[in-house]
Symmetry: C2
Subunit: 543 residues, 2 copies
């Protein structure tokens, strides 16, 4: 160790390895970690910081219950430790001690385990289940690195007022290192920056915040690791939605960075990363998407092209007798703009065959949702047949406004391995499409698709607005009810018609059963349907 070369903590050469591990792939993650250590050593780094639970990936959920899984993760730490000649490394893993498990950070260096810090504050709300698995750390330690006192804490620990950071500083910590796996939602970046800045100021200490990056099922980790000065100024910031070895400047550097984060751009980038990671980590290459001529399938296809490449995206138009003329032609223009393979598979004949087959049972009944949904389910069957025949993953195209209200057909347009934009409200779908076109400097999503009135086209002259309030009314109500957990009365007080609010809430509550069977979606808001929102299906509470 080159302790003698130091004149002060500020000059210590520190880097953050903002990496993208895969849940369960302990061997692969270990190789990646070691490669980053080797690279850091080459660049003269003295202290290298990895995010929370990088050895196992985050969150491994009930894999944690498996004893061989914990054992392998501990073995991985030993393997990594063997590579720490001449460097200090902080790395997240699961520690096992006297029959208890801890979400932990190991400080290793020169092939020695210098210290282990357990996470003290375990999040057990929203998408988090850490009390299901872990015990709380009992104390907040300070470790010596090259003669300097460093306090390490883990994710939630830094969110707590008068928490571990404060305790560690009172014990003489000159630097706080927080390792995190903090999942993205649009707008979170501002909250996070403000928080870390506040912690730095109140403790008069520089803070290194190392965040995970990558997609894991419904969760997206956005990276954007930081260094904040002890004055609470943002001195260095890692890339968003990408891996990076972030070599930090001096801790007391005066060069302040001004963050510019755009919720629309962030949501787009988050979905691109989430989709490409889901495909890469699960070994998928290609996708097939039903293109309806509407804006949701257009956005889904555009994101897929960015995430996995145009050569891997196949758009299928499946017109019925209720489809508008633009349904096929607008989709064709879209496919051309995106440069993707495009097929038209009309469903009229199959639909007629269903009606004939069901003529005895349906005789004397009126056309209703049964006939509408038959069409949606024929399309689902065709897309799944393409998937089964050619190994393409189907992307469902529904947005969050539809999914909230149950304005979607189970086993029809809800079919697919992933529901890419299911946590994006319709109004934001429009914003992202505008962003894509603006960014490209030309029309990627055809303006005909953006300007037409939304319709499921499952009966004559159908419009979304026949069944749903206009989206610029609906979306704020949905946001207040789902994301902000506001009551019916409070939403009405915010300026919405009480009867309409009741109607919307009833739709949301009644359709829990559909969402129970929905494809995996990616969280881009503070409250997505999925692991973070656990509502009963059998539920007589009226909102």
């Amino acid at each position: 160790m080159k302790q003698e070369t130091h004149t002060g903590l500020n000059k210590m050469k520190i880097a953050i390895a903002q990496i993208n591990p895969t849940v369960g792939d302990i061997d692969g993650n270990t190789v990646k970690i070691i490669n980053y250590i080797k690279d850091a050593k080459k660049q003269g780094i003295e202290l290298l910081v990895f995010p929370e639970m990088v050895i196992t990936g985050y969150p491994p959920r009930d894999l944690i219950v498996k004893k061989p899984f914990i054992k392998r993760n501990v073995e991985s730490l030993e393997t990594i430790n063997a590579e720490t000649d001449g460097i200090f490394v902080i790395v997240g893993f699961i520690d096992q001690s006297q029959g208890e498990l801890f979400n932990a950070a190991a400080l290793i260096g020169n092939r020695k385990v210098i210290g282990i810090q357990h996470k003290v504050n375990l999040p057990n709300y929203d998408v988090f289940d850490e009390k299901r698995y872990f015990s709380s750390g009992k104390d907040c330690k300070v470790f010596d690195v090259l003669g300097k006192n460093i306090g390490i804490n883990i994710c939630e620990d830094i969110w707590i007022d008068n928490g571990p950071s404060t305790e560690q500083c009172s014990k003489g910590a000159e630097l706080i290192v927080n390792i995190s796996a903090s999942p993205f939602f649009a707008g979170k970046e501002k909250v996070r920056e403000k928080l870390v800045s506040k912690r730095a100021i109140e403790n008069k200490v520089p803070i290194i915040y190392a965040n995970l990056v990558g997609g894991q099922d419904d969760l997206i980790f956005d990276g954007r690791s930081y260094l904040f000065s002890k004055q609470g100024k943002l001195i260095c910031k890692g890339k968003s939605f990408a891996e990076e070895l972030i070599i930090l400047p001096e801790l007391d550097s005066a060069k302040e960075i001004i963050s510019k984060d755009d919720e629309v751009e962030d949501t787009y980038k988050a979905l691109v990363l989430a989709l490409s990671d889901y495909f890469r980590k699960n070994g998928f290459k290609k996708t097939v998407i039903g293109l309806s001529g509407g804006i949701d399938s257009a956005l889904t296809a555009a994101i897929a092209v960015e995430a996995i490449g145009k050569e891997n995206v196949w758009g299928i138009s499946m017109p019925s007798k209720f489809s508008s003329k633009g349904s096929v032609s607008d989709s064709e223009v879209l496919a051309k703009n995106l440069g993707i393979k495009f097929d038209v598979i009309p469903i009229k004949e199959i639909y007629d065959c269903y009606l004939k087959t069901l003529s005895k049972q349906f005789s004397g009944t009126e056309f209703n949702i049964a006939e509408e949904n038959i069409q949606a389910r024929i399309r689902g069957n065709i897309l799944m047949a393409m998937s089964n025949k050619f190994g393409h993953i189907v992307l469902a195209t529904g947005n969050k406004s539809e999914l909230s209200c149950g304005y979607a057909t189970l086993y029809g347009d809800m079919s697919g391995g992933l529901a890419l934009i299911s946590d994006v409200l319709k109004t934001r779908v429009y914003e992202i499409c505008d962003y894509i076109n603006k960014k490209a400097g030309k029309e990627i999503i055809p303006s005909a698709i953006i300007t037409k009135a939304p319709s499921a086209e499952l009966r004559d002259n159908q419009k979304d607005s026949d069944s749903l309030p206009e989206y610029d009314i609906l979306d704020p109500i949905l946001k207040m009810y789902i994301e902000d957990e506001m009551s019916k009365d409070d939403i009405a007080k915010a300026g919405f018609d009480k009867e309409l609010v009741s109607k919307v809430i009833k739709m949301v509550d009644r359709n829990e059963y559909k969402r129970h069977q929905a494809a995996l979606g990616f969280r881009t808001t503070p409250k997505a349907f999925g692991t973070g929102r656990r509502m009963p299906i059998t539920n007589r509470w009226g909102g």
Copy 2:
């Protein structure tokens, strides 16, 4: 209060109101609770005990986050309290105190709140998420009821060695009352009885154990409330799977009861209750079931008939060109035995129409799983069309062995509002069918259905055993892996071929994505797919 009539605690007139509340229906639950209080008063009961969280129903999950929900539950306690002239009542509710929420028991009587006991040990494993919502109770109290010392504790509290019961007895409790919402699995009853008996013996105290009854989504509460004497003998036991006002004998009664619980019969009764409650609580009346001629759909139909009545069950046979002759004729016999409506809707024409429509895309490819699944999805579409047209709920018919291995078609045979037997292994499916026939004293499930080799009949001469190990090998492996959380190596050591075990585990792990979109099923084993098992989909861990 008739305190003066007592000669001792043993003679106190106590009853358990083993009731079936509905989650979220606070007003309805309140009415039910008051009716039981009125009935108990008529019968001279002095102390009436209700189960855990009966005011809200259990588990209300994220409804607990809603402030008006908590408020209404507190108001309900006040309403109930107004009915307690001349009686003591113990009732489960959610207590709010200084910004914290507690899973609580209120002791009320003569219109007074005598005391409130908070749950100390919050389960946060398996299906339980109580640390997501509640704070732990800080102390274990003893209350005076008619001059006697009673310790009240809640569910998990009695499962803890040297826990609340012991503390309360050391503080002078002469009787322990535990209020529970303890969900069923086959075999749990034995564990529970042994536990409560042990607590009674070690504390030399009689124990009243009041358990919830009823179905709530995936969970089934089986009732079977108890009185154990201080010698640890079972003195009184409530009904299984039914509501009851259980009037207890004297606490020191010498009359011991011998429990007889049969896992097969229990599973059957549990599913009947779960299905009828799901329908009743959600306002459904009728079901439509695809009858394949196989044993799974036969069992599903038989349970449905018992749960909601034969007049509400519609069986549909949907033969294809790959269907065996028995597919229709055996189903017809089954329908006749059950007395249900029966229709045959052949799918050959629709299937041919799909192939024709897809001929361009499929040209040059071999018949494979794509063509197989098209058939399953046509059947799913037809059943859902019947559901949409006539308001019948579709029951999916897959068993746990299939669901474990992914031997099922998403949007095909997995379609439905409920997957009734999705937590029943195939070998147990046979056992339950035998039980049904034995109980009826005649053939309800035709022997032709019981004895034929299982087949999906999606291609010529297909058998389950082409893709899966024989069920008497497969099921024990699945049980060890899923229920017992055993590792690959340990399962092999238990006497199974290591390669086969690896293959099975791989199938289970790879099909997490299918189960993510599976219909709600009812838990009848210690570990069901659903809220109690939380596995990542993106998962490179090899089991």
